[in-house]
Amino acid sequence: MRAKLFTSLAIGVLGLLVGLWLVHPPATRANGDKHEEKGGHAHVPAPLEYADVHVPLSVWTDPALIARGKEIYTTRCAVCHGDQGDGKGPAGVALPLKPSDFHDKDGVAEMRDNYWFWRVSEGGQVEPFKGKGSAMPPWKSDLSVEDRWAVMAYQHTFSGHNGPHVPWEHPESVAMGRDIFAMACVPCHGVAGKGDGSVGPMLAPRRAPQPRDFTSAEFKFRSTPSGQLPTTADLFRTLTEGVRSSGGPMTIGLRGHRIMPSFQHMPVAQRLEVLEYVKSLNRGFWERGAVKTVTVPAAPTLTPERLARGKKLYADAECLACHGERGRGDGPSASTLKDNRNLPIGTTDLTRPERFKNGARPEDVYRTLVTGLAGTPMPSYGDSLEPDQLWDLVYYVLSLSRGGRTAEAGSR
């Protein structure tokens, strides 16, 4: 009888534990980071509008900025995050999502600088934090960019890490991107991202294009001025859409095919993760300062006069030397062109806008004319042509797919 009662009690206690577990299950692994496992904040990739906000390296160790950050932190952040940065401020105790503990070295190491800046700027008013009930206020209206950097630098001191908060100091911050890169990108771009993977040379033996060397300063497809690194949005576009072969006499067998596949089926968060890893291979992304992009003015109305001016510019700017009189990529210089690795490179067939690597909408062609294609013979016309002239040329280039008679825009 006693044994039966004991069994009943034991099973009852087990039932109670099951009940508690059902109501309060263990934290799930939202994005694979250890900090999230411990019930912390999901270190999801920063959205594209914040992805290029990399904190200048000197900020993290600048005593004056850290002192300024301490002042701001003490008046604005400590009430929740605590004077000691341990997330135990008096107003933070009852919050649904606990304030970050900056002493948590793993958690801090997993935060990328652009994520951190995004969180300070937007607070908990954006997803996925809003949906989790975050009460973190947005500070972008109250604090300047430099003030936000200063606060971050001060918060960073609690972690005990003395150097700049960058991926090469904290490889765990790009661990997920590194794993995706290893699975999806290494065959072409190589283990170190130098464009020397085993598959690359088979795509186009001894000729361009070859897979991009992410450690170099030259990226073809950009919205940034000539000589600068691309934006994360530029990289995202290339990753999403892939790169088509341009056609032309030197790319027989590859015409119209994607020489880089499209990764549009990869979830957006994973694409952003892999791009954070790709950027970590090139310190220039942290050293370039504020990012400027090419402004594409509103497209003017197409007129026969504009088309005629574009045709003249096409000859005067020597486009026909490479692209040919009819734009078929068969100009007199086409067979002699080489890229920056001294590999023969084909000329884009302008009569096939669907093969334009950098997009075939009028604004895409305008951007390509301004930025040029780094590492290839395609120069930048940003300094030599006025915006109105660039539009003349854009319309003429797009008209070549119809024998120069009309100028209907191609589509991507």
Binding site: K4, T7, S8, L9, I11, G12, V13, G15, L16, L17, V18, G19, L20, L22, V23, H24, T75, A78, V79, C80, D83, G89, P90, A91, V93, A94, L95, P96, L97, G124, E127, K130, G131, G133, S134, A135, P137
Partner: protein, 118 residues
């Protein structure tokens, strides 16, 4: 045997119900103050949970506390000091966190903590 089974099932039901009840009462709500009804003693919060934004009406009873933390003004003391506020001190737009309990189908505030005044 039937008696033993009854005891087991009863324990499981009591366990689940009590666990659910205790968690619901402890779950804090954070959000932006949308409206204050000083005569009706209610507070409307705009809050988001599981991706859905909704308005939650919180009832304030005499025993409900509204707290704001500020730095001590006493010489030599730098820590935070708790200040009690009344419902009329709250302003729309402030971010608050509220611990509540269910009473008669209402969310009744235990403590309202001001996170940010703006």
């Amino acid at each position: 045997m039937t008696k033993a089974m009854f005891v087991i099932v009863a324990f499981i039901v009591v366990g689940v119900v009590s666990a659910a009840h205790s968690v619901a009462d402890e779950a804090p709500i954070s959000g932006t103050v949308k409206a204050i009804d000083t005569s009706g003693k209610t507070l409307t919060l705009q809050t988001t949970a599981k991706g859905k934004t909704r308005d939650v009406t919180i009832v304030l009873k005499p025993e409900s506390r509204i707290l704001r933390f500020a730095r001590s003004t006493e010489p030599g003391k730098t820590g935070f000091v708790e200040h009690s506020l009344s419902i009329s001190d709250l302003k729309p737009g402030w971010i608050v966190s509220v611990t509540t309990k269910h009473e008669g189908g209402n969310e009744v505030a235990e403590t309202v903590t001001v996170v940010m005044e703006r």
